[in-house]
């Protein structure tokens, strides 16, 4: 690592970023309202910090070359080891989602389609492969990986996708394969995941030429757990009536828990967010000004229409108070244990909602519906996410027939605007809202 790259980093990130942040604060102060409607509460104060954290993270990546080894990892991967080894970590899924929010997907994914990648491939993967092939991005260029880490606990898509990345970048790929839990997991399942995590350590050490400090790992695991627990508490605050924070807020605020798990700054950030949410509860502020009905969202958000949905529901006095998706990053917090880091990681990472059965997800939906005093469920049938979506037709039917819970299946795609029809969606939403009795 050269002195030069450190100086460059210092000049650009430490000094340059400061002025960037000041500018952004000034700009945000001039445009305080995020939503185009008076039916939604003003945006959270921490919103600015989230944006700064994410901007700084990607800026950091710009100048990482020569200072740190870079790893690209999947959103549900056991990242703690890489954090403890000092890797700079990039989450391609998150990067793709940012491109989705900024409506850059058609252009960037188009580059992958031009290269022959089918439209039937996950739109996250197409976006990132397009970015890899063309250098296009919504956040500047991404640093090239020295190591890839894919965990199959969210889908098999990442297995296929990361094999492609490994081939193109010619760097090692660590696969942590997590058996799907149809009913319950066995000791052999945990042993298998644990063995793989252990085997991955020397590979990761070799790439960055450092050795893992057990103490550092414990510390990272602890911070990962602390941040996840705070996140869980924030989500749980949504049980209050009116709900102080909406699922749409959570979709934005979840970025650090996905992207910067295991860091002190992340723990501080969520502590601040929790304080703000509690303040809202104290003052009786709801995310939706006149909350009349409460919904649960299932599956990934539709990144390119976040505002559309938030405003549509807000105008109707409907608050989407929780989602199974954001919940996934909190519900596993209790499983983490810094005294047995590897084993507890194995138990944590085998257990996200996406790696459990369709029936188990229905259980989660029903439990959340009760806890959060839900009046209806929106199931986003996401063309790009089969593991999350298959089962939704039955889940919906069970909710309607067993619980008399209004439930809507909404066909769309988390990133690709081309698989979304605003007209069809609007008429379905209108009908659903009528069913809710508004």
């Amino acid at each position: 690592m050269s002195i030069f790259s450190h100086i460059k980093y210092f000049m650009n990130v430490k000094l340059g970023a400061r002025s960037y942040i000041m500018f952004n604060r000034w700009r945000n102060a001039r445009r305080p309202l995020r939503w185009n409607t008076k039916y939604l509460a003003p945006p959270l104060k921490v919103d600015k910090i989230t944006k700064e954290l994410i901007a700084l993270h990607y800026l950091d990546g710009h100048y990482v070359d020569g200072r740190k080894s870079v790893a690209w990892v999947t959103s549900g991967a056991p990242v703690e080891i890489l954090q403890a080894l000092g890797y700079y970590v990039i989450y391609p899924e998150n990067h793709a989602a940012i491109c989705g929010v900024k409506r850059k997907v058609v252009e960037i994914a188009g580059e992958a389609e031009n290269a022959g990648y089918s439209l039937d491939i996950c739109s996250y993967a197409r976006t990132d492969i397009g970015a890899m092939l063309s250098g296009k991005s919504a956040v500047g260029t991404l640093p090239k990986p020295d190591l890839l880490l894919a965990c199959t606990n969210i889908c098999q898509t990442v297995l296929h996708w990361y094999r492609i990345l490994s081939y193109h970048f010619n760097v090692p790929l660590i696969i942590i394969d997590t058996p799907f839990i149809y009913t319950e997991y066995s000791d052999a399942d945990i042993e298998y995941v644990k063995n793989q995590i252990e085997d991955s350590i020397p590979v990761a050490e070799n790439v960055c030429r450092r050795s893992l400090s057990f103490k550092k790992l414990q510390n990272v695991v602890k911070m990962s757990k602390d941040a996840s627990e705070l996140w869980l508490q924030i989500i749980q605050r949504g049980t209050h009536i009116p709900a102080p924070i909406s699922a749409f807020d959570q979709f934005i605020q979840m970025a650090p828990i996905v992207e910067m798990r295991g860091k002190a700054a992340t723990v501080n950030f969520y502590a601040a967010l929790l304080r703000e949410v509690d303040e809202r509860i104290k003052n009786g502020v709801g995310a939706v000004v006149n909350e009349r009905k409460r919904l649960l969202w299932d599956n990934l958000p539709i990144w390119h229409r976040l505002r559309y949905f938030a405003e549509y529901f807000g105008t109707m006095g409907i608050s989407v108070v929780a989602s199974t998706y954001t919940n996934a990053w909190g519900e596993l917090a209790p499983l983490m244990d810094k005294d047995r880091p590897v084993e507890s990681m194995a138990k944590t990472y085998i257990y996200p909602v996406l790696n459990r059965s369709a029936g188990s997800k229905l259980g989660t939906i029903k439990r959340m519906a009760e806890e959060f005093h839900i009046n209806g469920v929106v199931l986003h049938s996401d063309r790009s996410c089969k593991p999350y979506s298959i089962g939704q037709i039955d889940q919906r039917n069970r909710l309607i027939h067993d619980d008399r819970m209004p439930a809507l299946l909404l066909e769309a795609d988390h990133n690709d605007t081309r698989s979304f029809s605003e007209e069809q969606t609007a008429s379905r939403l209108d009908a659903f809202v009528e069913m809710l009795g508004i």
């Binding site: 094999r163 081939y167 058996p179 229905l362």
Partner: protein, 363 residues
């Protein structure tokens, strides 16, 4: 020689005969699973690759439209009574869609069949072998509980040996395929009997084919077929009509399942070794390099003039690899063609035009 002379038994007759002798039937979804384990319990695995061309409207009440036709058809087939003769359904964890189907069958779809799942490890190292051994043992335990049988190592090895012999017979048919004098359709009808014939019958059938020397060999422009299944099978006749001979394949139901015998004396380990030994397969996480090498070697060994990628629509495992596979082949001067199918659709004239053009290009 044509296969009419060989008298390939019908699937239904095989099932009835096996049941008449007191055996049970397991319907098995794609792709990899330990056949011998089931045989040791007197259960005959019958594979379910769709089947194609059925009324698949019944699966729409459980599965979205962006799930592939193989998975849709399997569920529809169950719902229209196609699996009435079956006692078990085994769903190997092959891809996200089959994971979803397995989960639906366990949790939501009403069926009297006992549903079993099998997780196939994507780890290629020791943890993977060890895990697969445990997974097979887990299924052994479930089958024991249901059937009351407890096949010992000797019995397990009897079944393992005969399946290994059947694998060897299959490999021999592949090795001598040019000399068999069979057209595309007949060759694939023959080897696909491995999907439902008991191993001992398959061995006999192979021997009778291998013992007859062909009057004349089927000559056509050689190509390699890659993908999941050659369905609808009329494709093979169309290829023959155009003068194309499928000289080798990288099909999930066929060439990707040329398993090698294992070496371990522990039956569960042995079965894992066997399943791990086949050709590179994206669903098992094999690297792109290994797939490229494998395809190139198929082309060189069979002297093929090109590769046809024949993929089922929505099949992510296949779709992800296509651009790099095609590019690597092109770099070696090997042309390739990509076709996408829904296994319920008849072969379209547009598809035939594509194949004919490809033929005009490679000739």
């Amino acid at each position: 020689m044509s296969l009419q002379q060989l008298k390939i038994p019908k699937r239904k007759d095989v099932i009835n005969e096996f049941k008449a002798r007191g055996g049970k039937i397991a319907a098995v979804l794609p792709i990899h699973y330990p056949r011998a384990l089931f045989r040791a319990f007197s259960i005959l695995p019958i594979e379910l690759w769709g089947p194609p061309k059925i009324d698949n409207s019944f699966s729409g009440s459980h599965l979205q439209a962006y799930v592939c036709s193989i998975v849709h058809n399997a569920l529809s087939f169950l719902k229209i009574g196609g699996l009435d003769e079956v006692d078990f359904i085994l769903v190997p964890h092959t891809c996200d869609s089959l994971q979803g189907l397995g989960s639906l069958l366990v949790d939501f779809v009403t069926t009297t069949k006992k549903v079993l799942t099998l997780y196939l490890p994507r780890d290629k190292g020791e943890p993977g072998y060890e895990f697969l051994g445990h997974e097979i043992l887990r299924i052994y335990t479930i089958l024991s509980q249901i059937t009351g049988l407890h096949p010992d190592d000797a019995l397990l090895f009897d079944a393992i040996h005969i399946e290994e012999q059947a694998d060897k017979a299959l490999a021999e048919l592949y090795f001598k395929r040019k000399k068999l004098g069979l057209g595309n359709m007949d060759f694939y009808r023959l080897i696909r009997t491995r999907e439902f014939l008991p191993a001992e019958h398959f061995i006999k059938l192979s021997q009778s084919v291998l013992s007859v020397s062909a009057a004349k060999s089927f000559n056509g422009l050689p190509v390699v077929l890659s993908g999941i299944i050659p369905e609808p099978m009329e494709l093979l006749d169309e290829l023959s009509r155009m003068g194309i001979s499928v000289a080798a394949d990288d099909l999930a139901c066929c060439g990707r399942r040329l398993y090698q015998p294992g070496v371990s004396m522990n039956p569960f380990r042995r079965l894992s070794e066997n399943l791990f030994s086949a050709a590179p397969d994206p669903t098992r996480g094999d690297s792109l390099e290994s797939r490229i090498q494998y395809l190139k070697s198929l082309v060189y060994k069979s002297k093929a003039k090109g590769v046809i990628f024949y993929d089922v629509k929505f099949c992510e495992p296949e779709l992800f690899d296509l651009p790099d596979l095609k590019k690597a082949l092109k770099g070696q001067g090997i042309p390739s063609l990509t076709l996408e199918v829904d296994i319920n659709d008849p072969i379209s004239s547009q598809m035939l035009t594509r194949i004919e053009t490809f033929l005009e290009v490679i000739r």
